[in-house]
């Protein structure tokens, strides 16, 4: 059976170049970069150069990069670390309803610690209102955390505009750019971002490594204490192979951006157009224009998402769904819910996250099998026959 992987927003395969670069750091160059002897020093140079590669991708200084274990850690460090550090200045945080749980749950935790959190609503395309954002800022506001690109719908927030507002009011601005880095150009200077979260496995580095950009001069209370790695901001032995891999992935991402914006976007659009023209009563979720080039989130009326995913899986196609019946999470996707999508449409959304390995044949195969899957499920659905009868 042909296998098609279209869940690249969940995770990506490690790029061959990345793996190649990592391998020596498991066996020959295994030293601890914090050690002063030859074995450690051979390795610390590699960590430094990875720091430079990450910095180059997002246009910052290497010393502004903190290596982390993943996007969730980066988000938690940025939010909890800032809140604790800035506590004497204020206790108000602004975020949005469609953030990743790593952000929302960090904010919820802080609420229990006495912080006030404003959660901005989004419109039907998953977009926030900048006027609303600005109006939410008060004397007590210490932090705005708003994502760059949404993991479920791909909607891109106007990060530079948010950055300008944050600067105007002298409020720290963090963005979770886990889905954006490697897919769209990310420049922390141009966007006026103070902190930015990166996760390696979303763009060809392995799982278990990420980075947090923290603008020079921004204080941060560490999440955990120990050694003084990462300038006392993140204790713990460096995941050297992962960090080296992340560096290479960042370097590759600089050249991949053109492909993401060209070939991958074209494939995504071909899939979207193909579905819209072959299957009636579907709805694309997310912003039509301001959207990650690789992401398509689409709903099919009268049926439910998990059932669609199962049939796709049987044909070898891996996609994902934020629907109520997901294997391990119940309740509607909070992102789709916040967009006010009709519950039946919300229950049937499928996310295709395209990646560098996808081809035109992959798209065409999905377009060939999907109409039949949808019809089969619709033929079973009481909503479908009732709508046909009315």
């Amino acid at each position: 059976m042909k296998r098609i992987y279209m869940d690249n927003n969940a995770t990506t395969a490690v790029r061959s170049e990345v793996l190649e670069a990592m391998l020596p750091f498991y066996k020959e160059q295994f030293g601890n970069p914090s050690s002063i002897h030859w074995a450690g020093q051979a390795v610390s140079g590699a960590v430094d150069s990875a720091r430079g590669q990450v910095a180059q991708l997002i246009n910052c200084q290497p010393e502004e990069i903190i290596f982390t274990s993943c996007g969730s850690e980066g988000n938690a460090l940025a939010i909890k670390g800032s809140a604790e550090f800035l506590r004497s200045k204020g206790n108000h945080i602004i975020t949005t309803a469609v953030e990743h749980p790593a952000v929302l749950n960090s904010c919820k935790y802080l609420e229990k610690q006495g912080f006030e959190v404003t959660v901005l609503a989004v419109d039907s395309e998953g977009m926030i209102d900048l006027a609303e954002l600005e109006a939410a800022i008060c004397e007590q506001t210490i932090l705005i955390s708003a994502m760059w690109g949404n993991n479920e719908t791909g909607t891109l927030f106007p990060v530079a505009e948010i950055g300008a507002i944050a600067r105007k009011h002298k409020v720290r601005f963090h963005t979770d750019a886990v889905q954006a880095v490697g897919r769209v150009p990310v420049d922390v200077q141009a966007a006026g971002v103070d902190m930015l979260t990166i996760s390696g496995h979303k763009f060809g580095a392995p799982k278990g490594v990420g980075a947090l950009y923290v603008r020079k001069g921004m204080g941060l209370t560490p999440l955990f204490h120990g050694g003084h790695q990462e300038r006392n901001r993140r204790a713990g032995t460096h995941n050297v192979p992962g960090i080296v891999g992340l560096g290479v992935a960042c370097e590759l991402a600089i050249t991949d951006l053109a492909e993401q914006d060209g070939r991958i976007r074209a494939l995504r659009d071909r899939l979207e157009q193909g579905i819209l023209s072959r299957i009636p009563e579907v709805q694309v979720n997310g912003h039509r224009l301001q959207r990650l080039p690789n992401t398509l989130n689409i709903s099919f009326a009268y049926i439910e998402g998990e059932a669609i995913l199962l049939f796709l899986d049987m044909k070898g196609v891996a996609a994902s769904s934020g629907s109520a019946c997901m294997s391990d999470s119940f309740g509607q996707s909070h992102v789709i819910g916040a967009m006010g999508v009709d519950p039946m449409m919300a229950n049937s959304n499928i996310r295709f996250g395209l990646g560098l390995d996808n081809t035109e044949e992959d798209v065409d195969f999905i377009l060939e099998i999907l109409p039949e899957i949808i019809q089969k499920l619709r033929d079973m659905s009481p909503f479908y026959s009732e709508r046909a009868a009315s």
């Binding site: 049926i303 079973m380 659905s381």
Partner: protein, 122 residues
């Protein structure tokens, strides 16, 4: 995550459809996930002679509906009333824990249809 039986019933569900002049019609909407099942009965001499269903739901909901239909066609109404959610899940060789509630949909919709049949005073 699903047993072979679940996948079999999901892929080839038995007894999907509508009985136009049904003797009893039942329906159940799951409070936890919004999934919905409709059951149509043909009853002859207190025996379920035919049953058809329509399901809007996950793989487990569709498989549970199909399994439920196989378990009760040819059975008396009393036997059908005794069918439990657990029995449906068991007949499917089990469901993953978070999916156990999906079998509720099938048993409850069936019981609702029997109730409707009895109320119609057939």
């Amino acid at each position: 995550m699903y047993s072979d039986k679940v996948i079999d019933h999901f892929t080839n569900p038995r007894n999907v459809g509508v009985i136009i002049d049904a003797d009893g019609v039942g329906e159940k909407v799951s409070a936890s996930c919004g999934d919905r099942m409709k059951v149509f009965l043909k009853v002859v001499d207190g025996v379920i002679e035919d049953l058809k269903f329509q399901t809007y739901g996950c793989g487990a909901a569709i498989a549970s509906s199909s399994m439920m239909s196989e378990l009760v066609i040819g059975k008396t109404l009393d036997e059908a009333l005794a069918l439990t959610n657990d029995a449906v899940a068991e007949a499917l060789d089990g469901l993953p824990d978070p999916k156990l509630h999906c079998s509720n949909l099938a048993a409850d919709a069936l019981h609702d249809a029997i109730k409707n049949y009895k109320e119609e005073g057939a």
